[in-house]
């Protein structure tokens, strides 16, 4: 997913003089071809994210489209004010590409776990947040990032995620994608938790619970109208995300549910990381499973709420 994302940036840059790439201190050889062929628009500035975001804003104020890539935690937490003011307030065309959204860097511990990136960025006016589920979807998203107005955050998964989305439906920033139909329950997911959602829906179907799955790759702006339509016809709504429960997709959907005055009201539950710093290492999927970000947990929650 990351490789394709960056390759697309290089591909676009070859034909579009507006496009710049900026990195902090990325892995040796990253986008080497870009660097060699278009050195004037390739900037590797070291471990100084606040400065990098400011430079990106300056370039974008001059009409450039700047793709900035580094580890997700550093691009969101460390330089938060620069992202708010230099990018958000100026409403400039800078795309932040966050490596390892969620718990991808589980072996490296809490400093590298981007479990709050969506919450942090949701609070910034003008910011668009996208979290594709797989490489195929990334491939459909990237061409749209060139002309999209304003700052954007692109959340990257670990890579090699199973391909679950299809080219039948064109990607649109700000739109949701129904992946399964169902009338008893609705699972709402973003990013790589689509896999657990589809697996859960399959299991639940076998148990006689007809479960819809709605994939929400754009967490902001949220397609509220479509979400309300999909939620209207089911009694049970469960959200799942590789993110803290404080302020991510689940919170955003909860805000919509709470203001919608559904009658009868929905049975609603969020699945995600509780309000803790994950305190054990291991692999991404292990950490996710420990906090119930899994098909098994989804099945159990939907079963309970459907009773």
């Amino acid at each position: 997913m990351r490789k394709l994302c960056l390759e697309k940036v290089y591909e676009f840059a070859k034909n579009d003089e507006r496009i710049f790439f900026m990195g902090s201190d990325l892995g040796f050889g990253t986008l080497n071809q870009f660097k060699e062929e278009i050195p004037g628009r390739f900037l590797m500035e070291g471990v100084n994210e606040a400065n990098i975001i400011g430079i990106a804003a300056g370039l974008a104020l001059e009409g450039r489209i700047v793709y900035v890539n580094t580890i997700a935690t550093f691009i969101t937490r460390r330089c938060f004010e620069q992202v708010v003011l230099d990018l958000g307030l100026h409403n400039v065309n800078v795309r932040l590409i966050g490596n390892g959204g969620g718990v991808v860097y589980a072996p490296l511990g809490p400093t590298h776990l981007a479990i709050d990136d969506i919450a942090i960025l949701r609070a910034i006016p003008n910011m668009t947040i996208v979290a594709p589920a797989d490489e195929a979807e990334m491939g459909r998203l990237m061409p749209l990032t060139v002309e999209h107005p304003g700052p954007m955050y692109i959340r990257l998964g670990k890579g090699n995620e199973p391909i679950l989305t299809t080219d039948d439906i064109p990607f649109a920033i700000g739109k949701v994608f129904p992946m399964r139909e169902g009338s008893d329950a609705l699972i709402i997911t973003t990013g790589v938790t689509l896999k657990a959602s589809l697996d859960a829906a399959d299991t639940l179907k076998q148990q006689g619970i007809s479960t819809a799955v709605l994939h929400v790759p754009t967490v902001k702006p949220l397609d509220t109208t479509a979400l309300l339509e999909h939620m209207a016809s089911v009694p049970v709504v469960v959200t799942i995300e590789e993110h803290t429960l404080m302020g991510g997709l689940g919170s955003a959907v909860a805000e919509i549910v709470a203001e919608a005055n559904f009658n009868p009201s929905k049975r609603f539950k969020r699945i995600g990381i509780p309000d803790v710093f994950p305190d054990k290492y291991g692999a991404q999927l292990d950490v996710m499973a420990r906090y119930g970000i899994s098909a098994e947990k989804l099945v159990a929650v939907v079963e309970v709420l459907s009773q």
Partner: protein
């Protein structure tokens, strides 16, 4: 240091008296305060001559076409000094002077910190400290890539130079040898709580800039001739960004506001204070 240009007078203890133009610009600031009765007066009055020389003699711009692509860019990174910036921009015709009467008011465009989307001539929204130099590097890198001769000037505060992001940016500008970038530091030696020497000492200040790859010099920041002389000689070296440490006096021009932290940001400015400021600005040595 060997790379220090030898163009400027050392900081002058006997700062020259303010000429007619310097006093006129300060009176425009009083006009702004008359409407709002509040503002960062001390931080603005240390800055007047720096802005005056930039906009009178150095910068290329067109007030009728503020986004003219060939213009020089100027960022007031110490955004709280905006009373001075608004005075000069209005004087140059970037926006009608009537806007000055609506400082910090609901129907105005001039806030307590400058916003690029609202004020013609303001290149970047500033106010939170430590942002302007990085944005300026973006401007300068773009000019270099586009092969234009547009230059970028960034005005920093001394208190602002406590921010780590300033030095991230300094390191980066040095690395890129951005000779089209000039930093001017308004070194009035006071920050909100007290003197810079007590709160967070910046010395050896010019040497710090040199160590980060700049060619640096020091001038009396109220000496119009010294500022003009320094600014007409940038870049001081062909492969380095330039830094000009401007030794200034906080609140310069109003005797009781000079070096007086009560006037760093002043609220509830009275009629009597307005009148006494205007009276003091009437008196001076006309150049």
């Amino acid at each position: 240091m060997s790379n220090s240009p030898t163009i400027a007078e050392p900081p002058n203890a006997d700062s020259p008296g303010l000429d007619r133009r310097s006093r006129a610009l300060r009176k425009i600031v009083v006009r702004i305060l008359e409407g709002s009765r509040r503002g960062h007066l001390g931080a603005a009055y240390s800055l007047i001559e720096i802005l005056r020389v930039l906009y009178d003699d150095i910068l290329r711009y067109d007030p009728k076409n503020p986004k003219w692509s060939a213009r020089d860019r100027c960022i007031l990174s110490k955004g709280h000094g905006c009373l001075a910036l608004y005075a000069i921009l209005a004087d140059k015709g970037f926006f009608p002077k009537t806007e000055l009467d609506k400082f910090c008011q609901e129907d105005g465009i001039l806030g307590g910190h400058p916003e690029a989307s609202k004020v013609p001539g303001v290149e970047a929204s500033t106010g939170s400290l430590g942002h302007g130099l990085s944005i300026g590097i973006g401007f300068a890198l773009n000019a270099r890539y586009a092969q234009t001769d547009s230059r970028t000037f960034v005005i920093l505060g001394d208190g602002e130079s406590n921010e780590g992001s300033v030095w991230e940016a300094a390191m980066c500008a040095g690395k890129h040898k951005l000779s089209n970038l000039t930093v001017l530091v308004d070194y009035n030696k006071h920050q909100s709580y007290g003197s810079t020497f007590e709160v967070q000492d910046l010395e050896p200040f010019a040497d710090k800039w040199r160590a980060f790859g700049f060619a640096a010099t020091e001038v009396d920041g109220h000496d119009v001739e010294a500022l003009r002389s320094a600014l007409t000689q940038v870049p001081f070296e062909s492969d380095k960004p330039s830094a000009i440490i401007c030794h200034t006096i906080k609140g310069k021009g109003i005797s009781y506001a000079e070096n007086n932290l009560k006037w760093h940001h002043k609220n509830k400015i009275s009629d009597e204070e307005i009148q006494s400021m205007l009276a003091e600005l009437e008196v001076g040595v006309d150049a």
